[in-house]
């Protein structure tokens, strides 16, 4: 068989090879994204995603969407503009969450005994689904960045509230008021994460009284738009073939 001859001999065989190729690529993509995105999110989101006593209504809401919209934007750029596949963001979040859960369960709980209800990851799926759908329906990077990016930031807090609210129930503890999440942070000793390192409601925004979560979410949504643009371009550049020598 010469190099110019086809490797398959029938249409059925071609379909079979194509499907095998699909699963190989999807499997590889999933785990490459899992590894890269997980490291990225651990380094940039870090403690905000690790501990319930860091998941506050201001900085967690602000930081998590901004640093997590990166890979979804880039992978979307590759899968949409090359294959018209609208699951770039969701496949990223599936990879990230699988990695996060393995890490939290095997390391945080299995190795260092932190209870899972203290160190579970944030839920990023609602924003990812909407991000994919907006790109698919509009076929526009700009509209996806503005509408999808904004939705990604805005859906983060309400998407996590059903999981977090029970931990914000107050307790009286030796004469001080805390939330259950605060108490988890105090009870389950972390030698390298002292109380002062917690980034809880630092900064201004005091004029909004107690309703700071929506303000933080809008700010996060706005920055997510900008970050989406940036990483979408990264993705486009990375998915290009300009640097491959033409045959």
């Amino acid at each position: 068989m010469s190099a110019s001859q086809s490797a398959v001999r029938s249409r059925a065989e071609a379909v079979k090879v194509s499907r095998t190729f699909d699963w190989l690529i999807l499997f590889t993509l999933f785990f490459v994204v899992l590894g890269g995105y997980h490291i990225h999110y651990m380094l940039t989101g870090g403690d905000w995603d690790f501990w319930t006593d860091w998941k506050d209504r201001r900085l967690w809401v602000t930081v998590a969407p901004i640093v997590s919209i990166t890979f979804p934007a880039a992978v979307q750029a590759c899968l949409w503009w090359r294959y018209r596949l609208p699951f770039g963001a969701v496949v990223c979040i599936l990879g990230l969450l699988l990695g996060e859960w393995i890490n939290r369960y095997m390391n945080f709980w299995g190795w260092t005994y932190f209870p899972v209800n203290f160190c579970f990851p944030s839920n990023l799926m609602p924003g990812a689904i909407v991000l994919d759908v907006v790109l698919m329906l509009t076929n526009s990077m700009t509209i996806t960045a503005v509408i999808g990016g904004m939705a990604y930031g805005l859906l983060f807090y309400p998407g996590n509230w059903p999981i977090m609210a029970p931990l914000h129930v107050p307790v009286e503890y030796n004469g001080m008021m805390m939330t259950l999440a605060d108490l988890q942070g105090y009870h389950y000793v972390r030698t390298g994460t002292p109380e002062y390192i917690r980034m809880v409601e630092k900064g201004t925004l005091r004029t909004f009284g107690k309703d700071v979560a929506p303000v933080s979410a809008f700010f996060s949504a706005f920055v997510s738009i900008l970050i989406y643009f940036l990483w979408h371009f990264f993705g486009k550049w990375f998915a290009g073939t300009g640097f491959v020598q033409s045959s």
């Binding site: 194509s18 699909d22 999807l26 006593d53 998941k55 090359r82 294959y83 018209r84 609208p86 699951f87 969701v90 599936l94 969450l97 859960w101 260092t112 005994y113 932190f114 899972v116 209800n117 990851p121 839920n123 799926m125 609602p126 990812a128 689904i129 909407v130 994919d132 759908v133 698919m136 329906l137 859906l155 309400p158 998407g159 509230w161 059903p162 999981i163 609210a165 029970p166 931990l167 914000h168 129930v169 107050p170 307790v171 009286e172 503890y173 030796n174 001080m176 008021m177 939330t179 259950l180 605060d182 009870h187 000793v189 972390r190 030698t191 002292p194 109380e195 002062y196 390192i197 809880v200």
Partner: protein, 414 residues
Amino acid sequence: MKLIKDKVAKLSFVALLVTVTAAMFYAPTASAHGEKSQAAFMRMRTIHWFDLNWSKDTVAVNDTMTISGKFHVFAGWPETVDKPEISFLNIGIPGPVFIRQGSWIGGQLVPRSVTLELGETYEFKVLLKARRPGDWHVHTMMNVKGGGPIIGPGKWVTVTGTMGSFTNPVTTLLGDTINLETYNLSNTYFWHAFWYGLGLVWVGYWARKPIFVPRHIAMEAGKADSLITAGDRKVALGFAVGTIAIVAFGMSSTNAAYPVTTPLQAGLLRGMKPIELPARTVNVKVEDATYRVPGRAMQMTLTITNNGDSAVRLGEFNTAGVRFLDPKVHTDETGYPDDLLAEEGLSVSDNSPIAPGTSRTVQVTASDAAWEVYRLADLIYDPDSRFAGLLFFFDEAGNRQMVMVDAPLIPTFI
């Protein structure tokens, strides 16, 4: 050539097997917390822990123990470490093998960070509840913002029982008693599984048809529009609307189920109450201090002036948690960790009582393997080669007086 390659491959395989087998038979537990690796000056010139007491050596799961004692915040705090203006009383254990049920400085609960004053001495207590069985090295610890964790002395404590029986009941302000160990776990699993499942369905919808090759060919052929059908659009719209509806429903139903929630609490506690020590009547001037490397001994020339009304003798030198005692004056009866206790490690050239109103210059030697074991001798390699510690004098009635010393240290190598 092939024979050599085969042999190398075979030997490599045998070596790998031997390594794996050896690791299976001997894999010791890493039990220390790097306390010996922390720069000696950090341990000698920042927080001085003393009068420490670990209430139990063995404790069953769900039972409690306390670590109590005092710490002195060194007035000559090194310039290379941030001042303890924002500090946190912590505990040095390998993960939450205990839970911290309470911690107090000067009787004040300190779940928050605190401000400590240089030169002051504070009383502290930490209440721990055993959670995971094993032998654990339990250290005192103070985290200082800009300085890092400053670890104090540690003692081995054995926890018996099973972790499965551990409970952590907490009563909320709404009157519900929950087990914080497992609280909210099924809710967390449910929501994560639900959203993960929905994500899988979304990817599965697209992956049910050929994904990469035919779509790429169609894209290259300019037939991109044919790849998304009207049905696809309807399904996608359903996903988006459904997602937003589920998020809205989840938010509103959660607010109905938990009408009272409060934001996370954080803050800084100022005004920690120090111990009011009696007026000091013993003054000490360090004339010189040397560390003799081969002998693992520190020698100080001290001029001691007794301005009190009772004769005093030097009984103890405490630095970085290592206690050097003169057994003729003072012995330990608290069960202090053996590796940190040099029961006969302090010798004084003339340790007869120093009468009131008199001064005496003496040679004091603190010698013990602990200098090397705890890597305190590394002080001579620090950028600011000074030592510091607490001297404890005892009068005829057994009353104790604490004096802080701080001076340059000259190493001798012969």
